[in-house]
């Protein structure tokens, strides 16, 4: 992902910021301009809890080139207590234990290296709570 574009994603990726609709209360991640439920504009920025519950999961065996070294790796959709849902990888886990309903923490991690120079790109990954 080219650097200027990556830079715009920092609030969502580094600070795990989402948005809340001031009218209907819908929580989205990342923030967007218009509420997908009621079309209200001007969502409020909120910080999401760094934990959640797995909604559904998979283990990626055939990966994109950037993630070859990590494969096989679990990926999940996590729902935070605020009701935001996000897609993340799961780190520090046995892939077989990652199943719907599992409680996870969201930790700040390196996600990928960009381009030939290998610029480090960060975000969040889920880690099982034991």
């Amino acid at each position: 992902m080219p650097s200027p574009r990556y830079w715009r994603e920092i609030p969502a990726r580094y600070r795990l910021e989402g948005g809340r609709c001031p009218k209907c209360g819908k929580v989205v991640y990342p923030i967007r301009k218009v509420c997908p439920e009621c079309r209200t504009e001007g969502l409020e920025t909120i910080a999401l809890s760094r934990r959640g519950r797995v909604v559904t999961s998979t283990v990626i065996h055939v990966s994109p080139t950037e993630f070859l070294m990590e494969a096989p790796y679990p990926m999940v959709i996590v729902e935070t207590p605020e009701g935001a849902r996000l897609m993340v990888q799961v780190a520090d886990s046995d892939p077989d234990e990652v199943k719907p309903g599992m409680e996870v923490a969201l930790e700040f991690r390196c996600i990928q290296r960009e381009g030939h120079s290998g610029i480090l790109c960060y975000g969040h990954k889920a880690v099982p709570i034991r």
């Binding site: 990626i60 065996h61 994109p64």
Partner: protein, 382 residues
């Protein structure tokens, strides 16, 4: 709006067609459709194409195709909705004829996937780049997330998923245009290499080259071109959230249901009136979800229905008699138009060994991304 008929069809075989380029594929399919209707001119062309830009570095596909078809001067537009591009092109052509703006319109789709591109990466551009692909998800990965959600909610099993592949390969073995013309067993499916758990290689549609084209005209003029016109009774399209995480129920394809309801309403028909259907089985789980969203089975019962043979040739409602995307192949931009061709051949009674007896009404359901777009068409023998 005017009634619209399909009066000509043409398609290339699907597969790894190394000797044919993007433009060659289109021209072969388009010429076949024109010949089928004995038509010598066109008022407009729509070309469904997901990603000529990324697969072969070619954008501006509309005029390129008109030029190579010998139709310079004819308006020609590329239509894109990821893997639903073909269905979206058919819908655009339908409205151009229905509106009265044009009489003879070619709806086509083409994709050249085997020309050295990183296919997994190109296909992933149909998912949300910022919130999904950045984190390392692939297309099989997205459908695997759907599969596990479906298994958790409805008790769908690995055997149910395998049954979809077994059935579609058995159908595809009868289709001379199919990429894979061999049967597979459930054991082979469940022993094939893991792609994204629980989806294995034989749950996934292949990487394919191919093109398909259909010729549309007002129903009132159809007999000038063919003795067996097929009327388009309904068209429906819908969108859903781009990111799978934003679906209320990741195991339910709500855009497919919305598109289907719109098509049923326009056709004044319901799921019980359909005799044969092509659904978008890019992955085995997608066929099960589509059957439920199209209301062909109750929610959560599609796996059971498939294993019971209800959707096989000879069953209650044969699904994907062409072999589906799984066995026939999935050149993404061409798929939606090729689905329509299978239904036209069934309704004309020209499907050979795959013929569904007395088929009078058929449906085709095409889908983009992880279900963020879907197009449904309903066809009827005239």
């Amino acid at each position: 709006m005017r009634e619209v008929a399909i009066v000509g069809v043409g398609m290339t075989p699907f597969g790894e067609l190394w000797e044919l380029s993007l433009r060659d594929l289109f021209v072969d399919a388009a010429l076949a459709a024109l010949r089928d209707a004995k038509a010598d001119h066109l008022d407009a062309i729509y070309v469904g194409n997901m990603s000529g830009g990324q697969f072969v570095g070619q954008e501006h596909v509309g005029p390129l195709m008109a030029d190579h078809l010998g139709m310079r001067g004819v308006p020609s537009t590329r239509v894109e909705s990821a893997c639903a591009s073909g269905g979206a092109a058919l819908r655009a052509a339908f409205f151009e004829v229905a509106s009265g703006a044009s009489d003879l319109v070619l709806a086509s789709g083409v994709e050249k996937m085997n020309d050295g591109a990183d296919v997994t990466r190109v296909l992933a551009t149909a998912a949300d780049q910022e919130s999904e692909v950045y984190h390392g998800v692939t297309f099989p990965g997205l459908y695997a997330l759907i599969a596990r959600a479906h298994m958790a909610a409805h008790g769908t099993t690995l055997e149910d998923l395998a049954a979809v592949s077994v059935k579609n390969h058995a159908h595809g073995a009868l289709n001379p245009k199919a990429q894979f013309r061999q049967k597979v067993t459930a054991e082979q499916v469940m022993a094939s290499s893991m792609v994204a758990d629980p989806l294995r290689l034989l749950h996934c549609s292949p990487v394919s080259d191919g093109a398909a084209a259909v010729l549309l005209c007002p129903l009132s003029r159809a007999k000038e071109f063919t003795q067996r016109p097929i009327r388009i009774r309904g068209t429906g399209m819908a969108s859903s959230s781009m990111a799978l995480a934003d679906r209320k129920d990741p195991a339910y394809l709500d855009a497919v249901n919305l598109a289907a309801n719109r098509a049923y309403e326009m056709a004044k028909l319901g799921p019980k009136d359909i005799n044969v259907a092509e659904v978008h089985d890019c992955f085995a789980i997608a066929e099960l979800c589509a059957l439920e969203a199209l209301c062909f089975t109750e929610r959560g019962r599609a796996g059971e229905a498939t294993r019971a043979g209800e959707t096989s040739l000879g069953g209650r409602l044969p699904i994907n008699t062409s072999g589906g995307l799984k066995s026939k192949g999935h050149p993404v931009g061409a798929t939606g138009v090729a689905q329509a061709i299978e239904i036209v051949e069934q309704l004309r009674g020209e499907a050979g060994e795959r013929q569904v007896k007395d088929a009078a009404v058929g449906l085709a359901q095409n889908m983009g991304g992880s279900g963020a777009s879907s197009v449904v068409h309903i066809f009827e023998r005239v």
